[in-house]
Amino acid sequence: MKQKLVIIGAGMASGRALEHLFDTAPDAYDVTLFNAEPRGNYNRIMLSPVLSGEKTFEEIVTHDTDWYEAHGVTCRFGEHVVRIDPEMKVVEGENGHVPYDKLVIATGSAPFIIPVPGKDLPGVITYRDLDDTNAMIEAAKKPGAKAVVIGGGLLGLEAAAGLKLRGMDVTVLHLMGHLMERQLDEAAGYLLRRALEDKGIEIKCQASTAAILGDDKVEGVLLQDKTMIPADLVVMAVGIRPETRLANDAGIEVERGIVVDDALVTSNPDILALGECVEHRGQLFGLVAPLYDQAKVLAKTLTDEASAFEPKEVATKLKVTGCDLFSAGDFAEGEGREDIVFRDPARGVYKRLVIEDNRVIGAVMYGDTDDGNWFFGLIKDKTDISEMRETLIFGPAYQGGAAVDPMAAVAALPDDAEICGCNGVCKGQIVEAINAGSHDLGAIRATTKASASCGTCTSLVEQVLAVTLGDEFVMPANAAVCGCTDLSHEDVRRLIKAKELKSQAAVWQELGWTTPNGCHVCRPAINYYLLADWPVEYQDDPQSRFVNERRHANIQKDGTYSVVPRMWGGLTTPDELRAIADAAEKYNVPTVKVTGGQRIDLLGVRREDLPAMWFDLNQAGLVSGHAYSKGLRTVKTCVGSEHCRFGTQDSTGLGVKLEKHLWGSWTPHKLKLGVSGCPRNCAEATCKDIGVVCVDSGYEISVAGAAGMEVKETELLAKVATEEEAIEIISAFTQLYRENAKYLDRVFKWVAKVGLDWCKEQVVDDLENRAALVARFDLSQSVYRKDPWAELAAPEEARQFQPLADLTLEAAE
């Protein structure tokens, strides 16, 4: 005679168990199946696609009426079980008793409702079954409806994404610091948040719900910090707890869940349990994979076949279109655990493996989850990874065989593999450009734009060049800025712009500096890059400057300073000369010298005397000559048409105008100009960073000269007819240099790298771009065109030049 089997709960676990049972012993039991929901088993995991509209309910039904009929299952759907009587071996349903020989409890879990005022208002729902899903779809029909999802875990985020797709305004409230904190670490949580925000979902982390507001239905959610978020629908997805009430009432052992042994038998030998309602060796279950394993074991136990459930590692995937996310195993930090991390923030890719004893024990992947199952296999099989550790993070494609050659990996990429994510350039396009004659990085950037935005793919582009050109291509070794980072100056400059890094702290953190605040090499460079790119947002940091730029005077070998007042275009007056002479006497200046830049240098000034001396010079209208700065130094001029019989234009006047326009600006290295009134070139303009030679028809502007360790003549940038245009082009060129050059590259070195043609395009040919450069220069000058001496001579600042204390006096007393 057939035994009687009663199952409470028609969910995914019991459904799978029935399949196994009917496969192996179709005639062993008469089955009665209770379900509180008025329907049979469906794939609950796929409710999210139903919510988002990507699937219909019919598509996710796993067992339909025909199936139950075919297997002779008595369905008691839509009927709650009132109680279990283990003495009499009877299950009491709302519509009558059913006796059993074996009972399976598969009551699943109940959503956790946070106990806040308003939790029972109409419009507050959970996300467990089809009715919840339908309620959400209904709510989303109202135009402009707003939803608040409480809980930033797997379920909450899927609900949020689905509601957003249905057209609702969605806000996710999450109690913890980052999303999905049980499956993801902080970095992956950050990327996920960014991706969801890009979809238009608002995310609030560390948001604690104080109350749900509304009179006869939900109107909003009030947070602990008193923020009020309007809502027509509130979805609680903060977690689940095992549904154990029936078992508990029947006197079966219950801890957090219904306690089962390895055979899935409860404390009562005739009662079994499986699914989200059970607790096995202290562990609860929320994902489907282990439940399917339980189903197998339970079916065997029911047919008296020995079998034991062994919990395995589980992997999670988030089912939100466009958010590829995978997590498996254990990824908490701990002693003896090491991380291997791969990060490409621009592409939104993050991979982290947690290694313990040469085995992968956890994996988190975001953005590129293709290798997820391979890593999951390593975790499950406890594979020793010591042999492949170096290339492990790159996935299975890079394993095996001889030592891995990164070039081979690039060579193996298909033509449609994306190399530059910012500009959407794939390998094939780059190869095409190389074959058409672009044989270096600069040319590739110019022709394809690959690596021309954020620059993170630079090394990939170079590898494509190397693979395509073979020995013809010499891989440039862009040296790291200093020991604090592996990034080159070029990388850092691009990343500061691309990632909008506006503080030193942001640079140290986002770019992974190895020192807390840099060193004497990188900090002045970073300070310059930040102030050049963000003149308004970033505040210049004197403590990140070399002493000369901090003290606004040149330190000499004996620790004294030199003071050089500005003489605009080399012009001065008797009053100014008198003031300089007075200052030289008053402060016992040992040496007074005329410089090559047409002004006067006062050498040997004591640090303590600097502010007072500046004050005196200011009184005569003299300001800092910036003879110490990586910035505009001098504009050297000849007398020009005012006095000279050969002069073609007013070179002195133009020089003064240029100097008044450019002074105070910081540049990657010092910037010296010259303006000559005729091609005889008395101002030596053609060996300056920027030189102007006046001719009858106007002005010849040339750039990139040098007269230092190297000597080089300038190259023609443009010929213009008017002073105004000359000043405009020189401003734009200066700004181009400021925005693009490596710190401590003089103009001629920088132009050699980017090419004069490119500079011409930017500031001569492209008028719109020229105007934009001029506007950015003017913006920067609105902050920096000022006399630092006047500021430092003020009493408050001047104190910094004095000793903090003089203990020699106290000792004498």
Binding site: T515, P516, C519, H520, R550, P803, L804, D806, E810, A811
Partner: protein
């Protein structure tokens, strides 16, 4: 050991330094990004550069003349350079900087 109050920590810029004149010469008093205070000789043993004018990074200072780097904790030159600067005990109490008073003692008399 007796302590001398030489000023407030706010008198020194963050990641900066000031000098204190003593009978032993100038002492540089540094304030790091972490608001720690260190004191050392102001004179670089290489060419006498004023260390108080150097760039303060981490717990180190770089001499402004030729970029020698010294640990503010030990006074030792870092990297390839060999040299040592004298360091002096300091204390920070309620935002006030205290220096070891023996710096006041005349080196000849001592």
């Amino acid at each position: 050991m007796s302590w001398l109050d030489i000023g407030s920590i706010d008198d020194i810029p963050l990641r900066g330094a000031r000098i204190v004149k003593t009978v032993h010469g100038c002492v540089a008093v540094f304030r790091t990004a972490e608001d720690e205070v260190f004191a050392s000789s102001d004179r670089c043993p290489h060419k006498g550069g004023p260390l108080s004018e150097g760039i303060v990074h981490g717990k180190s200072v770089t001499c402004p003349l030729h970029n020698w780097v010294f640990s503010l904790e030990t006074g030792e030159a870092q990297g390839a350079d060999e040299g040592q600067i004298a360091t002096y005990p300091t204390k920070l109490e309620g935002g006030r900087i205290l220096l070891d008073a023996t710096l006041l003692k005349n080196p000849v008399a001592a």
